[in-house]
Structures are given as structure tokens and as C-alpha cells.
């Protein structure tokens, strides 16, 4: 194997990768990709081999993967479905299996492709029609139907819907205000912990440090636990206490630093 050959191969591979990237960007979803692939069969969409098409698609996805091209989830969902369809088409039908046969699913896929193709053609025919302001024109100088003036207020449906959307989404941006009665502030936890510290020469679980009335209701306990925990971190940082935890997620224990 000569270097030159290797060189050309990598160039070819790079070209191929580039072409693929461009292609993936150019496709509007997996159905569009399938439609393009189906054209290589050069036959009427009604007589297309869905099995061959599924293999082509899976090959395309495989190639994209080997070239580490990121594909949108839609493409992978379609790949999974086509792999399933392929197995249904290849394996003898299982009489116990419920649901549509592989042939029915394949026929539907062919129908979807044909319909998309038909809509594409219809869109092209529509845009190819004579258009107002391009191929035919309205009166260039419409005559003012003047004499009495009357103000008519205009509003489009879009204006109306936007106004409503604006009103109804205003609340999204209202600053989040919470109910203070169930909040145990950090400052209070720090003050309480500091005042109780002299008596804490033994390891005590953090739970036991929660103030009275803050241990029952989950939301109150959560708030007190959070602020008390934050306070222990502050005190540990100051070197006033020691913290101990036997295992991940095990209860946290604390005590006054003995050498103080």
C-alpha cells in the first residue's frame, strides 16, 4: 500500500464526510432524507422497495456515526423504527404477534413519501403560478372614495392574540415572592448555633440542632435544615466546630472543637 494511495483515500474520505455534513444540514428531517434516498432507486414511489430504502437509510446513519457527525434525535428515532421494520419484513410473520404487519407498515411509509413528494410538487406548482404584484397587477391608482371622513380602527387577529399572550405571560416575570413564615433564615441559625455551642462537646447529629417547631412539616424542616447546615459550614470554617460524616448521605455530626 503506497503512501500516495493512502493520501488519496483520506482525501476521498474527507470529501465524503464533507458531502455528508452538507447533506445532513440540507435535509428537513428524516422523511426528507428518505425521500432523497428513494430517488436513487429511480422508480415510481409506489413500487419502491422499502426494505432497500431502510437499508440505505441505516447505512447512511451508520456512515454518519462512523464519521462522528452529530445527528438530530429525529434521525435516530427513524433509524430505530426502520431497523424494527426491516426485521419485521425479513422474519417470517409470528402468528402470536399483535399489530400491523411489516408489509402494512412499509406501505404506510411509502404512502408518506409519496404524499410528501406530492406536496413538494404542489408547492412548486403553486409558486410557479402567476402572482399578484409580479405577473399581474391591481389598479395602480385606486380612486379615493373621498368626501366624508370616518376613522376606522384597525387591529389584526395577530395583534389580538399577541395582546392576550402578553397579558397572560406577564406573571412569568413577576419576581418570585415566597411565604416568609416557613423560612428559617440563615442568620437565625447561625446565632442559635453559636449560642448553643459551649454545651456541645459530644458528637451530636445535625438533626438534633434544629429548633423546636421546625422538625415536623417537611417544608419547614427543609428550610431549617438548610440554614442550620449552612451555619455549621460557617462555624467549621471559623474553626469553632468539627464535622463528621461516616458515609455518603449518612447523618452529619458536629461538636465544639475541643482544643479551644
Amino acid at each position: 500500500m503506497s503512501d500516495e494511495w493512502e493520501e488519496t483515500e483520506t482525501v476521498a474520505a474527507r470529501r465524503e464526510a464533507e458531502a455528508l455534513i452538507i447533506d445532513v444540514d440540507g435535509f428537513e428531517g428524516p422523511l426528507d432524507l428518505l425521500l432523497t434516498l428513494s430517488r436513487t432507486q429511480k422508480i415510481d414511489l409506489r413500487r419502491i422497495s422499502v426494505l432497500a430504502l431502510a437499508e440505505q437509510y441505516l447505512g447512511f446513519i451508520e456512515r454518519a456515526r462512523s464519521l462522528r457527525i452529530e445527528l438530530a434525535a429525529d434521525y435516530l428515532v427513524m433509524a430505530a423504527w426502520l431497523a424494527f421494520l426491516k426485521s419485521r419484513l425479513l422474519l417470517p410473520p409470528d402468528p402470536t404477534e399483535e399489530g400491523p404487519s411489516g408489509e402494512e407498515l412499509a406501505a404506510h411509509l411509502a404512502y408518506q413519501l409519496e404524499r410528501l413528494q406530492a406536496m413538494r410538487e404542489a408547492a412548486a406548482r403553486l409558486m410557479g403560478r402567476d402572482q399578484k404584484g409580479r405577473d399581474f397587477f391591481m389598479r395602480g391608482a385606486p380612486e379615493a372614495l373621498a368626501v366624508t371622513r370616518k376613522t376606522q380602527f384597525e387591529a389584526s387577529l395577530l395583534d389580538l392574540m399577541r395582546a392576550y399572550a402578553r397579558l397572560r405571560t406577564r406573571d412569568d416575570f413577576r419576581p418570585y415572592a415566597f411565604d416568609r413564615s416557613d423560612i428559617y433564615p440563615y442568620e437565625a441559625a447561625l446565632a442559635r448555633l453559636s449560642s448553643l455551642l459551649p454545651g456541645a462537646s459530644d458528637w451530636t447529629s445535625l438533626q438534633a440542632w434544629l429548633p423546636e417547631g421546625w422538625r415536623g412539616a417537611p417544608n419547614r424542616q427543609r428550610s431549617a435544615m438548610a440554614s442550620t447546615f449552612a451555619a455549621t459550614l460557617e462555624l467549621a470554617k471559623q474553626g469553632q466546630i468539627e464535622l463528621r460524616q461516616s458515609d455518603t448521605f449518612a447523618p452529619l455530626h458536629l461538636r465544639r472543637k475541643s482544643d479551644l
Partner: protein, 221 residues
């Protein structure tokens, strides 16, 4: 223009006077349609004419008179307008209005709405096999080519989209059933809402609840 924008003289005209001769009525309709850029409905035209006039007949005469001329009388939905003959468009190159370039997605979405109307967003997405991006529907609505139709009487009662008279006017269509190739597409079954095998037959519910509105029904009269 409001339908009741009766000119004072027409309003005052007592029914005692006979309606003007048809040739005169035709002149009047001609003047009205030349004066207005926007299509005028039969009732709008009638409201401007003296009492006893037959706008429909005058329109028919006028239409014949302008056949083969440089300017045509065209029908747009339920309204009428004068438009230049399409084969002479090249003469008016300096009058051309540049329309916003539509994306491929927008053009396809527009075609799907026109051919499948009334159609829901989910159905558009099923046909294209890809989500309808934000802004596509918005753009088509802003251009006044599509509008909201009746809600579908299916779970979730989704909104539907239909094309507007402005769409018809822009593409020189008398009605949505004059869309090119509509009949062939329908006969080929390509406008059916065919569910994926094994999925709940949503089709049935639809047909119970939304009669006479679908494009497919346009032909069944």
C-alpha cells in the same frame, strides 16, 4: 370597507324609481371595480348601486366584455376585482413589488394548508415529517395568506389553519378548489388523512364532526 357604506344618494333613492338599464349598471360596476384595489364582494357592490340593480348580472356582462383585454375581471372567493392579464406582466416590471422570500419550509407549509385545509399543526408536521418551526406559521399569518379555521372536534380541540381570500387573490385563484392538481391528488388518495397502521383511527372522529369543510368534500356536491 364596511358593507353598509352606502353612498348617501343610494340610500336616499326611493324604490319608486326604476333601476337604471343594465348597460348603465354595468358601467357603474366597472367604475367601482376600477376604483378599488381590493376585491369587492357582491354585497359591497350592491350597497353602492342604486336600488333595484342586479350586481350579479352586471358583473357577468362586464366579465364577458373584458375577456381577452389587457385587464380582466377576476373572481376572488366571494368577491370581484379587476386585474391585469397575466401574459402582460412583463410590461409592469417597474411596478413589481418584491415579496418577502419564503423559506422552503414556509412554502411547503403553505401548500399543505392550501391542499389539506382545514389542517392542524400536528397534521402538517406528520406530512412534512418534521416540526413546524416557530415563525413559519407566524410569517404566513402576517402575510395574510393563512388564517385560523374552526377547531377540530377531536381530543384537545386543536386549532386548524385555512387559506385566505388574500391568498386566492395573490395566486389568481377563484377558490381553493381551483388549486392546481387538486383533483388528481385527491383521486390518488394523497389528501386523505391516513393514519399509521395500528394507530387509533382518528380519521373516523374527524369525519363525524367536521363535515363539509374538508378539501376532499369540495368535490362531493
Amino acid at each position: 370597507m364596511p358593507d353598509d357604506a352606502l353612498s348617501p344618494s343610494a340610500k336616499d333613492a326611493p324604490g319608486l324609481f326604476p333601476a337604471p338599464p343594465m348597460a348603465e349598471q354595468e358601467r357603474m360596476v366597472e367604475a367601482i371595480l376600477f376604483a378599488c384595489a381590493a376585491p369587492q364582494s357582491l354585497s359591497q357592490i350592491t350597497a353602492r348601486l342604486p336600488q333595484g340593480c342586479d350586481a350579479a348580472e352586471a358583473l357577468a356582462h362586464l366579465r364577458t366584455r373584458y375577456q381577452g383585454r389587457g385587464v380582466h375581471l377576476v373572481r376572488v372567493g366571494d368577491a370581484y376585482a379587476m386585474r391585469t392579464a397575466p401574459d402582460l406582466g412583463w410590461l409592469m416590471q417597474s411596478e413589481r413589488v418584491e415579496t418577502r422570500k419564503l423559506s422552503r419550509a414556509a412554502i411547503e407549509t403553505l401548500a399543505i394548508i392550501a391542499y389539506h385545509q382545514p389542517v392542524t399543526r400536528a397534521e402538517i408536521e406528520e406530512i412534512r415529517g418534521v416540526a413546524v418551526s416557530r415563525g413559519t406559521v407566524d410569517q404566513l399569518m402576517e402575510m395574510e395568506w393563512i388564517r385560523l379555521g374552526r377547531r377540530r372536534m377531536t381530543p384537545g380541540r386543536p386549532v386548524t389553519f385555512v387559506v385566505t381570500d388574500e391568498f386566492l387573490d395573490h395566486f389568481g385563484l377563484e377558490s381553493a378548489r381551483d388549486l392546481p392538481g387538486l383533483k388528481e391528488l385527491r383521486e390518488a388518495g394523497l389528501l386523505d388523512s391516513r393514519p399509521m397502521p395500528g394507530m387509533a383511527a382518528r380519521e373516523d372522529d374527524e369525519e363525524d364532526d367536521s363535515p363539509q369543510t374538508g378539501q376532499s368534500e369540495l368535490f362531493e356536491d
